[in-house]
């Protein structure tokens, strides 16, 4: 196990290195830089001033030099300055991470709490009325765009309650936070729960046909015991994989939800930063999301061994 962990750690480092090169290169391949955009906002271009700005920001240096400077800064905890706000990048990025983490966490919770049990029910009651209803609900969850659902929710709130659950000020206290995040989390979680539900259902259906399940029934085990202890434990592995992928995706993929519900999280910030070619923000934020994705994948791998003792890492 120890050697596996060390190998995995180095593999993670290699992956992150690859990602860093990829982000850095791709950002610079995309046409335009911050100087173009700064002048575009002023509706004119003064070539001399633009060249000066590029020089001030170090954009006139070779890409390799810029890359080394970034990695060197990263290693020393210096993420550079945002080109737009002219504040330290760390100061811009850090406050947004908990916001997105809360939203993603709640959405994931919603997905698991609804997706797994309902998937089990749907499989156990295959081809029954409840199965059909749940399949229709899950299909709607997968096919409904999150922005559309989000806007519908907002319109319904305005129409029926005269209020709107969007983020305008940082919420104070646990319950306010929960209230503010639970609605967008439900809008996102609906899609994720539908995915989890469908996967749990298909995985469960496969497991429920196995011989050992028949054996358990023959031995007189109760239905809940068979479904949740024997079947679900074996069916859950692909579901855990998908939950892991969803968790990683939610950290950076909530752009639409953050926009519709006006949540100042990581995803919206990242898209704005890309629009402005705010390299220090984009590079560091994508690296952060990459670290989250890599770590979650690693944890999912470890979880396999916990859930299925037959899996051994060596």
């Amino acid at each position: 196990m120890g050697s596996y962990l060390i190998r995995r750690f180095f593999l993670m480092l290699l992956t992150l290195f690859g990602i860093s090169v990829l982000i850095f290169t791709m950002l610079r391949i995309v046409p335009g830089n911050i100087a173009d955009i700064v002048f575009d906002a002023a509706g004119m271009i003064d070539v001399a001033d633009k060249v000066k700005l590029e020089k001030d920001l170090g954009l006139d240096q070779p890409i390799a030099v810029q890359y080394v400077q970034w990695i060197n800064g990263l290693a020393h905890g210096d993420l550079g300055y945002s080109y737009v706000s002219e504040k330290p990048a760390l100061q811009e990025i850090l406050p947004r991470i908990p916001i997105t983490a809360k939203l993603a966490g709640l959405a994931l919770l919603f997905a698991i709490v609804f997706g797994v049990p309902l998937g089990v029910v749907s499989a156990v009651k295959q081809n029954s009325g409840i199965d059909y209803v749940l399949r229709v609900v899950s299909l709607s969850g997968l096919s409904m765009p999150a922005f559309w659902l989000g806007l519908l929710i907002l319109m319904a709130f305005v129409r029926y309650f005269g209020t709107i659950p969007i983020y305008t000020d940082p919420p104070q206290g646990f319950w306010n936070t929960l209230w503010l995040f639970s609605i967008p989390a439900a809008a996102v979680g609906f899609r994720s729960s539908a995915l989890v539900m469908r996967l749990t259902r298909s995985s469960m259906l496969e497991v429920l046909r196995q011989d050992y399940i028949r054996t358990a029934r023959a031995k007189g085990a109760s239905d809940p015991n068979i479904n949740y202890h024997h079947a679900l434990r074996n069916a859950i592995l692909p579901v855990v994989t998908v939950i892991g992928i969803e968790a990683a995706f939610l950290m950076g993929g909530l752009i639409v939800t953050e926009t519709v519900f006006n949540i100042p999280g990581v995803a919206r910030f990242l898209v704005e930063a890309i629009r402005w070619r705010d390299y220090p923000i984009v590079q560091n934020l994508v690296m952060f999301i990459a670290v989250v994705a890599v770590v979650i994948n690693f944890l999912v791998d470890l979880l396999y061994a916990v859930l299925d003792p037959r899996i051994k890492y060596s």
Binding site: S85, E86, L154, V158
Partner: protein
């Protein structure tokens, strides 16, 4: 009651209630919540050219003079003193002296003096050591040779030649006075002003917070404790936030006619105004690239335009036809409709298109052999939609155009490189004044003269109207110039848009300017009746 008597009674009641509202004693306190359409590029007004900056930042500053914030049609006649108490031209009209207000302090407590005025204009003219990162309006002060201080309370602008419009430019929301002791770079992130509100913080994608300046030199003002701009990029969410009462006001002049209708249907108490914003949508043609170097082809393109169709389709009728200056009645300098109709492309569309087709046929184009071109524009709805209508209209004169949406951030770089054939652009005029419009957009060598139109004879007329001190004579000259610009197909104007602003009825003293969108946001005497 007979209908006439009923109408009279209703009018009287409405009049009385309006009088009550006007006469109500302003209340102090409260935070005005406005949604903002985006994170502004910075809060340094001098470095930017978008009212995304002016709206939140104007309240931080003062000018020497300012357009009366409650007269919608801004003009020389509506200019009021601000940091200056009075002004006077010398006999030759080449020196403008301002007496300055004493006892004014910057938000950090440092006293305001004449040196600050000089520093501001030295920065604008690139004369100081400290520099702006970008300086989009340096051309405004081309005819200012020097700014001299006479003690702490007097400053004189020396001009190379008479320019009555200088005062109009100084009154613009784009011309705040900056402090000498604060570097230009800091003004982008933490501006210090003398205005009614102090800057607290700007959080990207989140909010901009201003608080009342308790030491404001206008005693008793501002009424508000502060202004909170919540950045809501999604317009649907923003409108719902307004309807739900999460914000007291929409972002000024940001609503389309359809959205205003939607708001009024959901919140009938909302006060909404639709007005011109002095932003025109125009056609830019790369006049150096064949076949567009042929004036006949450019003329044919201008004659193919059906401006009314643009206004009806894009703006649901909420727009105006005009030249480069905002048309009357809201515009002070725009050509009168009768004159406009005499310009090719502004009259009978059918006849004009017939003539245009004849020109195209002479140039060798026909329905079977159309001219294939690309129409480039920013990849934003306000640009793309009229470009689609334009493409449709160009078909009527054998031009088969294809839309080339350009990533917004690349637009000006592309235009500056002249890497386009035909483009569709939006031009905002900072003030309703010919000097600003002509020199900025049509003068030889101007950075904002995107088509590089250059007519030396007309340039002389620019100078002539600019130096003319008699407003009536100047207006005649301005009309003549504008007509010539349109006839030369320098940058055909498709339409002048009107847009809407809504606010809750308890927001008092709100005035939306009707001939510019950059100058009416000092907000010092806005108050909340709740």
């Amino acid at each position: 009651m007979k209908p006439n008597t009923m109408a009279l009674a209703a009018a009287l009641l409405a009049g009385l209630s309006m009088c009550n509202a006007q006469a109500a004693e302003p209340k102090h306190g409260g935070i005005l919540h406005i949604y903002h359409r985006e994170t502004p590029p910075s809060l340094s007004i001098h470095e930017e050219a978008t009212f995304s900056v002016n709206v939140p930042a104007m309240g931080i500053f003062n000018n020497l003079v300012i357009y009366d914030q409650h007269i919608p049609q801004a003009s020389i006649a509506t200019i009021r003193p601000e940091l200056a108490t009075s002004w006077a031209w010398d006999k030759s009209n080449t020196a403008l002296t301002f007496k300055l207000r004493s006892g004014v302090k910057w938000h950090d407590g440092v006293p305001f003096t004449a040196k600050d005025v000089k520093c501001t204009f030295d920065l604008l003219q690139g004369k100081s050591q400290d520099k702006f990162r970008k300086n989009p309006r340096k051309d405004w002060y081309e005819f200012v040779s020097d700014v001299t201080v006479n003690g702490d309370d007097e400053v004189t602008f020396h001009l190379k030649r008479p320019q009555p419009s200088l005062l109009a430019m100084l009154a613009s929301g784009y011309t705040p006075i900056y402090p000498c002791h604060v570097p230009a770079a800091q003004m982008r992130t933490h501006p210090i002003g003398t205005g009614p509100y102090k800057f607290v913080e700007m959080k990207q994608n989140e909010s901009i917070t201003l608080v009342k300046n308790p030491d404001y030199w206008k005693k008793g003002l501002p009424y508000l404790d502060g202004i909170e701009y919540t950045i809501i990029k999604n317009r649907a969410t923003a409108v719902l936030a307004f309807v739900a009462g999460k914000v007291d006001m929409t972002f000024p002049t940001e609503m389309t006619a359809a959205l205003v209708k939607d708001v009024k249907s959901q919140d009938p108490t909302a006060i909404c105004e639709i007005k011109p914003i002095n932003v025109n949508t125009n056609l830019i043609v790369n006049r150096d690239a064949p076949p567009f170097n042929n004036i006949e082809l450019r003329k044919a393109m201008a004659m193919a335009l059906d401006r009314k169709a643009f206004i009806d389709i894009i703006l649901q009728g909420q727009g105006d036809q005009g030249g480069s200056l905002l048309p009357p009645p809201e515009g002070v300098w725009g050509m009168p409709p009768d004159m406009l109709k005499t310009i090719p492309g502004y009259g009978d569309v059918k006849k004009d298109r017939e003539q245009a087709r004849a020109i195209m046929a002479k140039l060798g184009y026909s329905a079977d052999k159309p001219l294939k071109i690309k129409v480039s524009t920013r990849n934003l709805a306000t640009y793309r939609d009229p470009a689609a209508v334009l493409i449709d209209q160009l078909k009527s004169i054998y031009i088969d155009a294809e839309l080339e949406p350009v990533e917004s951030s690349q637009w000006f770089a592309k235009v500056a490189r002249k890497d386009y054939q035909v483009g569709l652009n939006l031009t905002g005029n900072g003030i309703d004044d010919p000097d600003q419009a002509f020199y900025e957009n049509y003068s030889c060598g101007s950075e904002r003269n995107y088509t590089h139109y250059c007519n030396k004879d007309l340039e002389k007329l620019f100078d002539q109207q600019s130096a003319e001190t008699d407003p009536a004579k100047r207006k005649q000259l301005v009309w003549e110039i504008d007509k010539k610009i349109q006839e030369d197909v320098a940058r055909p104007i498709l339409f002048h848009a009107r847009t809407g602003t809504c606010w809750k009825p308890y927001v008092k003293n709100m005035t939306i300017m009707s001939n510019n969108t950059y100058n009416g946001f000092r907000f010092e005497d806005i108050w909340l009746d709740k």
